[in-house]
Amino acid sequence: MIHSLFLVNSSGDIFLEKHWKSVVSRSVCDYFFEAQERATEPENVPPVIPTPHHYLISVLRHRIYFVAVIQSEVPPLFVIEFLHRVVDTFQDYFGVCTEAAIKDNVVVVYELLEEMLDNGFPLATESNILKELIKPPTILRTMVNTITGSTNVGEQLPTGQLSVVPWRRTGVKYTNNEAYFDVVEEIDVIIDKSGSTITAEIQGVIDACVKLTGMPDLTLSFMNPRLLDDVSFHPCVRFKRWEAERILSFIPPDGNFRLLSYHVSSQNLVAIPVYVKHNITFREGSSQGRFDLTLGPKQTMGKGVEAVLVSSQLPRGVLNANLSASQGTYTFDPVTKMLTWDVGKINPQKLPSLKGSMSLQAGASKPDENPSINIQFKIQQMAISGLKVNRLDMYGEKYKPFKGIKYMTKAGKFQVRT
C-alpha cells in the first residue's frame, strides 16, 4: 500500500526518507513541489497528487509535509489517517513534532516507522504496543544509555500484539493508582454582522490519563447521556453496553488516550459565552478607517472567561493600524495583515476594548470586504453543554484508585462576521 514516505520541511528540503518496498527515487517529490508552488497557501496543496507512475498523498502538520508514495488503488483516507497517526506517535514520543526533533531522534523515528508498517500495510499503531517495542527517549534514559551502552529497544517481547486487548500493556504496576478524565468541549459558532447566531455547535472529547495497576475494568456513566448525539469511541469501549445502557464500559489503555469524542445534539440551544460589539468601517475617499471592538461575557454561569485571544485578517489595503487596547496587547503584522489581540481575562465590570484607526494605502479605493473576527477563549470548570459525569467505578482489581474529573470549555472555530 504505502510504498515510501518522504518528510519535507517548509523550505522544500527532503530531510527524511523511508522505503517499505523497493526504493522510489526522491525525484518523485518534484511533482509535489510543483503543486506546492501552484498553491498560494501551504494548506492549499491538494492532499492527493497523481503523477505518471505514482500517487502522492500528503498531510501537513507542524509545518512539515508527510508525503506518502502510493502505487495502486488504496482508500486515500486510509493513508491520510495513517500519516496523522504517525505524527501523533512522534508527538507522543518526542513531545513535539518538529524537524529538529525528528532529526535528533532519527534512529528512533526509523525504528518506529519500521514497526508501524510492514510492506506498506499498518502493523502496530497502538501507542501502548509501540512503547513496549521502542522506549521513548528521555533525558535520563539517554544518559544511562551512553554510560551503560544499553538500548532504547525494549528487551521484552511485545506481548500486546498477541492479546485480545491490544491497546493495553500487561504487567502494569503503579504505586499511586489514579485515573483522571478531562471533559473538554469546543464551541463552534458563526455570528453574522447583526449579532445573530448563524450556526452554533458543541463538540466535546473526554481525554483520559489512566495509571492503574493490573487489568482494571472501568465504567463511566453520565447524568445526562441524552445530550450526546453522535459519539465515536476508542476501540476499548464496549459498544453494545453503550447502546443498551448508555454507560461507557472499558478496559483502559495505559497512559493518555482519548476515550470518547461526541457531538451535542443540535436541538439544544447553545449558550454562547461571549459577545462582541464591533464597528469596522472604511470611508470612501479618505485613507482612514475606524476600528472599534468590545468584548463581553454572556451566559458563563458565573465562571470567568480566560485566555481570550482575538485575531482578524484585515483587508489587503490596510497599511497600518493605530489602536489602543484597554487591556492586553495587540500586534499588527503589516505583511500578512494579521491583527492579533491578546486580551487575557475578561473582567465583567470593565469590558476590554480595542479602538483606533487604520491607515489605508493613499489613493486606493475602499476595500470591498470586511474582515471577520476569530476569537479563542477558555472557561475552566464548566462544560457548556451541561454534560456531567455521574460516577466512575472500577472492577477487576482490589485497590482503591484516586479518581478525578475536570471540565473545560474552549472556543473552537468561533467566528464573527462583520
Partner: protein, 783 residues
C-alpha cells in the same frame, strides 16, 4: 520474562556460531576496496567487539539512509552483524539489510541462514520477526525458501505467526508473480482462520494477489462479518471494501423495486437511481415489475449491514468512510441516512480528512440529497478554511439547494462574495449560477445580484459574473435585453479574456435584441482586434459573421475588415476560422450549397447549457477510493460490479457445523481449569494454543447467546413484513439456524458486547462498596 531469556539464549547461540564464520572475512573488505575508504571509521567500529561501538556505527548508518545517502559499500561490514547479540544493533541491521539486499543479492544470501534458524525458534515472536525480515529481502533466488517458510508459517500454532505469513504473501507475489497459484492455496487456508489477528492481513493479501477469486470468500463470508468488529482498524477498512464488492456480486439490489415503482415525478428528487431506468422502455418496465417477486433481503446481506453499522462510531476516519461507502452502495434507500451524521462528524477532523470526506459527500448529495439536508449548516464556510475546502463545501451547499432552503443558502452566498479570497468568490459566483438554473423561482433574484456584481472593483469577480450571466441569459434572452446592453458597455473596461469573449458572444447571439448597440461594439472591437487574446478574436469573428447575416447593410465593411485582419493572424485557428466564415457568409460565384444555409447554421437556436456538478456520475467509482477522488481509474482499482439480475445460490455460504462442537468442548474444559479475567490477554507466553479469542468466546457465550437470539428474532420480524411466499421464509429460517450455530457468532459480542454473566455478579457486590466512594469520585481533580 521467560521469553526474554529465551530470546537472548537464542541470540547467544547464534552469534557464537556466526562470528567465526565471517568475523574476519578478507573478501568483505577487498571486493569494495575503492569505496571502502569512504566509511573507514564506520567499518572499523562495526568490526569491533564492543556492542556500543557497533550500535553507534549502525545509528550513524541508519541516519545516513534516512537522509537518502548511499551507504551500499558498507554492506559486507554490516551484514555480518546480522546475528549480533545486542537487540538494537540487530534491528538496525535488519533495517539496513531490507534497504540494500536488492542491490547486493549475493552478499545478502549470507544472512539467510540466520533467519532460517529463527523460523524454527520455539518463541512465536522470533519466528514471526524472522519471517518478516526474510520475506522483506527482495532477492529472487530465495523465492523457494520464502514459499516454504510462508507455507509452514501459515499452519503455525501461533496466530501472530500466521498473521506475519499473511503479510509475507503480497511481498512474495510482487517478487515473483508466477507463484500465484501456490499463494492462492495459502490464502485459502488462511481465510479459513478464525482469529481476528489474521483476518485483516489475509484479506489484504487476497486483495493484492487474487481479488478476482471471489469464490474463496463464500465459506468465510459470515465469519468475516462476525469477526469484523474485533479486527484491528486497518484490517476493518480492507475487509469492508472487499465485502462491498462481494455483496454486489451475490445479493440483489435492495432498491430495484422502488426505482421501478417511483418512476416519473419523483425522479428529480431521488435523481439517478430512477434516471438509469428511464432509458428503458415503458413496456419493459411494466413487464419487469409484474414479473419481479417482492424483494426479500438475503439474511447474509442484512448481516453485513447490521455488523458494519457500529463501526460508524470508530475513531478512525478511514473505517467510518469505508462503512459509509458500504451503506451507500449496498443499503436500502431508507437506511442509508445513518451515515450522514458520522460523515459530518469527520468534518471536524484535519483538513486533509475534510478534503476527502467532502469529495465523497459531494458525490452522495447528488443522488441522495435528503440525507444531508438536516446538516446544511455544517457545510457553512468559515474564512479560516483553506480554499480547496471552501470550494468543496460550496459544491455541497449547491447540491443541497432546494426550493425550501434556497433563500438561506443565497443569503449565505452573499457574505461569501465579500470574502478576500478571490478564487473562492469566483467559485461562489458559479455556485449562484448553478442554483439559478436549477431553481427557477430564484433565477431573477440571482441574475439581479450578479448584475450588481458587474460594478465590483475586482476584475476577476466581474469576469466570473459575466461568464455566469451569459449562461443564465441563454435560458430566457428576450426578457433581459437591458442586461445585455449593460454588459455591452463593460467591454470598455473588462480585460479578462474569458469575460470579453462571453460578452461578445452574447451580443452576437442576441444582436436582434440590441440592434443599435451591436454594430457599434463590433466597430470598437475591430479597432482593438490585433491586441486581443485568441479566444476574444474568435468571438469577434463570430460576432462579425452574425451581424453580417442579420444586418449586412451596416456591417458589411466592418466584417470584411475583421476577416482581413484575421486572415493574416499568427494563430492558425483564427486564420482557419476566418477562411471558413468568409466562404460561408460572403456570397461568391462558386459558393457552395452550404452558404444558402449560413443563417441557419450560425444563428441556429442553441440549447441553454446545463450547469452540472463536476461530481455527477462519479459514483460509478466505489466511493472512498482513490479512483473516485481523482475521477480516473487508478492502477489496481477493482470495478464495483453491478447487481446481479438473479441472486446466485446463497447456500454456498453455509458452513458445516462439526468444527464447532469439537472446538467448544475443548475450550470448556480449559475454562474450568483456569479462572481468567473477562478478556484475558496474557496468552502471550503460555504457548501457542488456539489463541485467546476463541476461549473468551465460550466465556461470553451464555450472555451473547441470548443476545444473538434477540437480534435474530428482530431480524425475522423485519423480513416477514416483506416476504410473501412461504417457501422463501422457510429457506430463510433454515439459513438462520445454521448461522446461529456458527461459533464465531458469539464473538461479535465479546468486546463491544454485553458483559459476561460472571463479571456481572462481581459487579453487583462491588457496587455496594463502591457506593460509598462514589461521592468522592466527583471531586475536582487536584493536580
Amino acid at each position: 520474562m521467560s521469553a526474554s531469556s529465551a530470546f537472548s539464549d537464542e541470540k547467544g547461540g547464534s552469534s557464537s556460531v556466526g562470528e567465526p564464520e565471517y568475523g574476519h572475512d578478507p573478501a568483505s573488505g577487498g571486493i569494495f576496496s575503492s569505496d571502502y575508504k569512504r566509511h573507514d571509521d564506520l567499518k572499523e567500529m562495526l568490526d569491533s567487539n564492543k556492542d556500543s561501538l557497533k550500535l553507534e556505527a549502525m545509528k550513524r548508518i541508519v541516519a545516513m539512509i534516512a537522509r537518502g545517502k548511499n551507504t551500499s559499500d558498507l554492506f559486507p561490514a554490516v551484514v555480518k552483524n546480522v546475528a549480533c547479540k545486542n537487540i538494537e544493533v540487530k534491528k538496525l541491521v535488519y533495517v539496513y539489510l531490507v534497504r540494500y539486499a536488492e542491490e547486493q543479492q549475493d552478499l545478502a544470501l549470507l544472512s539467510i541462514s540466520t533467519f532460517q534458524r529463527g523460523l524454527k525458534d520455539p518463541n512465536q515472536l522470533i519466528r514471526a520477526s524472522a519471517l518478516r525480515v526474510l520475506s522483506s529481502i527482495r532477492v529472487t533466488i530465495i523465492v523457494p525458501i520464502m514459499m516454504l517458510a510462508i507455507k509452514e508459517a501459515a499452519s503455525d500454532m501461533s496466530p501472530y505467526v500466521r498473521k506475519t505469513a499473511a503479510h509475507a504473501i503480497p511481498k512474495l507475489y510482487s517478487l515473483d508473480p508466477e507463484q500465484k497459484d501456490q499463494l492462492i492455496e495459502v490464502i485459502e487456508k488462511l481465510l479459513a482462520d478464525k482469529t481476528t489477528l489474521v483476518a485483516g492481513s489475509v484479506v489484504m493479501a487476497f486483495e493484492e494477489v487474487c481479488p478476482e477469486r471471489i469464490d474463496l470468500i463464500h465459506k468465510n463470508y459470515r465469519k468475516l462479518c462476525n469477526l469484523l468488529v474485533d479486527v484491528e482498524e486497518w484490517g476493518q477498512v480492507v475487509i469492508i471494501n472487499m465485502l462491498t464488492r462481494y455483496a454486489r456480486t451475490q445479493f440483489l439490489n435492495p432498491n430495484l423495486n422502488e426505482c421501478l415503482l417511483e418512476e416519473g415525478g419523483e425522479s428529480t428528487f431521488y435523481g439517478s437511481d430512477a434516471d438509469q431506468d428511464e432509458d428503458e422502455d415503458e413496456d419493459k418496465k411494466d413487464e419487469a415489475l409484474s414479473k419481479r417477486k417482492p424483494y426479500v433481503m438475503d439474511p447474509d446481506h442484512r448481516l453485513l449491514l447490521r455488523n458494519t453499522k457500529p463501526l460508524l462510531q470508530s475513531r478512525n476516519a478511514a473505517v467510518v468512510m469505508a462503512v459509509a461507502q458500504l451503506y451507500f452502495h449496498l443499503a436500502p434507500k431508507a437506511e442509508v441516512g445513518v451515515i450522514a451524521k458520522a460523515l459530518v462528524r469527520l468534518l471536524r477532523s484535519h483538513s486533509e480528512v475534510q478534503y476527502v470526506v467532502l469529495q465523497n459527500v459531494a458525490t452522495m448529495t447528488i443522488k441522495r440529497r435528503g440525507m444531508f439536508e438536516p446538516y446544511l449548516k455544517s457545510f457553512y464556510i468559515r474564512s479560516t478554511d483553506p480554499t480547496q475546502i471552501k470550494v468543496l463545501k460550496l459544491e455541497v451547499l449547491t447540491n443541497l439547494a432546494s426550493e425550501t432552503n434556497i433563500s438561506t443558502i443565497l443569503r449565505e452566498f452573499q457574505t461569501y462574495i465579500k470574502s478576500m479570497d478571490k478564487d473562492f468568490v469566483a467559485a461562489t459566483i458559479q455556485a449562484i449560477g448553478r442554483c439559478a438554473t436549477h431553481i427557477g423561482e430564484v433565477r431573477d433574484t440571482c441574475l439581479n445580484g450578479l448584475v450588481q456584481l458587474l460594478s465590483n472593483r475586482d476584475e476577476l469577480v466581474v469576469a466570473e459574473s459575466v461568464v455566469v450571466i451569459k449562461k443564465l441569459l441563454q435560458m430566457q434572452p428576450e426578457k433581459h435585453s437591458d442586461i445585455i446592453k449593460h454588459m455591452a458597455k463593460l467591454t470598455d473596461n473588462i480585460q479578462v479574456p474569458m469575460a470579453r469573449a462571453s460578452i461578445l458572444w452574447l451580443i452576437g447571439e442576441y444582436c436582434e435584441h440590441v440592434p443599435k448597440i451591436a454594430p457599434d461594439v463590433l466597430r470598437k472591437m475591430a479597432k482593438t482586434f490585433t491586441n486581443e487574446e485568441d479566444i476574444v478574436k474568435l468571438q469577434i469573428i463570430n460576432l462579425a459573421a452574425k451581424l453580417y447575416l442579420t444586418n449586412s447593410k451596416q456591417t458589411k465593411l466592418l466584417t470584411q475588415y475583421v476577416l482581413n485582419l484575421a486572415k493574416y493572424d499568427q494563430n492558425y485557428d483564427i486564420r482557419d476560422r476566418a477562411r471558413f466564415i468568409r466562404q460561408l457568409i460572403v456570397p461568391t460565384d462558386k459558393c457552395g450549397a452550404l452558404s444558402k444555409y449560413a443563417k441557419k447554421l450560425i444563428l441556429a437556436l442553441k440549447p441553454a447549457p446545463i450547469l452540472e456538478s463536476p461530481f455527477k456520475d462519479r459514483d460509478h467509482f466505489q466511493l472512498g477510493s482513490l479512483s473516485h477522488l481523482l475521477n480516473t481509474k487508478a492502477g489496481g482499482y477493482q470495478e464495483l460490479p453491478d447487481w446481479p439480475q438473479d441472486a446466485p445460490d446463497p447456500s454456498v455460504r453455509n458452513v458445516e457445523v462439526p468444527e464447532w462442537t469439537k472446538c467448544s468442548s475443548r475450550e470448556k474444559r480449559k475454562e474450568k481449569k483456569v479462572e481468567k479475567p473477562f478478556y484475558s490477554d496474557s496468552e502471550g507466553e503460555s504457548g501457542p494454543t488456539e489463541s485467546a479469542d476463541s476461549e473468551s468466546d465460550s466465556a461470553s457465550s451464555s450472555a451473547s447467546g441470548s443476545e444473538q437470539s434477540g437480534s435474530g428474532s428482530e431480524e425475522s420480524e423485519e423480513s416477514e413484513e416483506r416476504s410473501d411466499s412461504d417457501e422463501e421464509e422457510e429457506e430463510e429460517a433454515k439459513k438462520r439456524k445454521t448461522q446461529k450455530k456458527e461459533p464465531i457468532e458469539a464473538l461479535a459480542n465479546l468486546r463491544r458486547g454485553t458483559c459476561p454473566s460472571r463479571s456481572l455478579t462481581t459487579t453487583r457486590t462491588a457496587r455496594q462498596t463502591a457506593a460509598n466512594q462514589s461521592l468522592r469520585i466527583l471531586s475536582p481533580r487536584q493536580r
